[in-house]
Amino acid sequence: MERRVVITACSAITPIGRTKAEILDSLMNGISGVNVLREDDVLSPYIHSKVFGTVDYPITYDFKRQYRKTMGPVAYYACQVAKEVLDSAGLNDAFVTGGRLGVAFGSTHGSPTVQRGIYKTFFSGSQAGYSSIGAVDYLKSMVHTTAVNITKMFGITGRVISSSTACTTSSQSIGYGYEMVKYGMQDAMICGGADEYDTTTVAVFDNLLACSTAFNDTPQLTPRPFDVKRDGLVVGEGAGAVLLEEYEQARKRGASILAEVIGFSCNNNGGDLILPNLGGITETIRLGLKDAKIPTDDMDYISAHATGTKMGDVIEAQAIYNAYGGRPAVTGFKSYMGHTMGSCGAIETIIMTYLLAEGFVVPTLNLEEVDERCAMINHVRVRRECPLRIAAIQNFAFGGVNTSIIIKKWEGR
């Protein structure tokens, strides 16, 4: 039995805003959320890249202490977007706690801020000993901290999936959540991902020469996906959550349907853990189309993973061309906010949901001169109204993990 799966609520914390209006305003007006890397006392002095996709606006959290006590910064992000999704969806308490609602939520590596505190205790040379590590430090820092803090806060008793696959973390969350509902294992899933401000991730990519360094004095001019002057990715922070719901349930309760998820694919390159792989990515795209049961010509708009790295963008452009030809419009949304890591798939899915509903395509920011090796696909260069029906969200991660999510504009049935 295959059931239809719809998105009935979403919420995001991004470097370019919180609300639909704020995010669309940034996209429509070419406003970047990339800023100067904040200094810390551990790594920032040694990092060559001095740019970061920062969440600089205040967020008011209203969590009771019984929930706060097991939350690191990443769980604050996760619980906030989950709370907003549940508030917006209007599900009744009996359903939320009844076992048919699950959670698929993850982050790249839990809370590095909390982990850093633990390491400081060990390596400070003090006599503090292991018992000075707080009882809740593990609960705050473990890789599934986002998912289980959400279940705790709302009393959710359904399935828990906590992907932690770097850049495909939240696209896997959405994809696996979609499959849970599609195949009847759950009736609804809160899906998404979050990552907090962290210089460890920047240092990792910096060491691999994958971070942007040429625009340290002009942060908003980077990253530059598909552009000849692109020089690497920009790490960012953020969170995104969507509520996936079985269509008939959503219809019967009169839920506001934002879009339909019609396909998902995930595969692995089966080899190198870092380098992008044309065959693997092309196959992911094809598998997504097969799951969605649509021909390639139906694809209108693609959210490219497009991190702004030298090789990654070329391989992705080739894969898009191999699978779709040059027709679908393509935008790299990381150009606006940097690479929000574990949350990027969810944030990009939310952005695509907004743009499908509004009927707009927006340009890849900082794309001034297209690299000729990426020129075979249909880059969006200017904002324009465009009738849209079907969109894909592509994400690829270290470890050779590839995903494609395919969503459809909600047209009332």
Partner: protein, 83 residues
């Protein structure tokens, strides 16, 4: 350390860390204030700081039956006597 000093320190910890204001000394911490296993472990860490020494595993296990603040104070008082 006098009983009154222990009580003052514990109440201050409850106020500051657990956000529990003016609890009754006989209140059931779990039922009335939502005190749970995580809080209990945090409290033991605070007691170690208060006493200036680590608790043994046996001493920690003795704390598992504590239900109210008077019992917390009794527990700390008994530990202080043997240090």
């Amino acid at each position: 350390m006098t009983r009154e000093e222990i009580k003052t320190a514990i109440l201050e910890f409850f106020r500051k860390e657990f956000e529990i204001e003016n609890p009754g000394m006989e209140d059931n911490l779990r039922e009335i204030h939502g005190f749970d296993s995580i809080d209990a472990i945090e409290l033991l860490l605070e007691i170690e700081k208060l006493l200036g020494s680590e608790l043994t595993q046996e001493e920690k296990k003795r704390a598992m039956d504590i239900q109210n603040l008077n019992q917390v104070c009794d527990y700390v008082e008994s530990l202080a006597k043997v240090r």
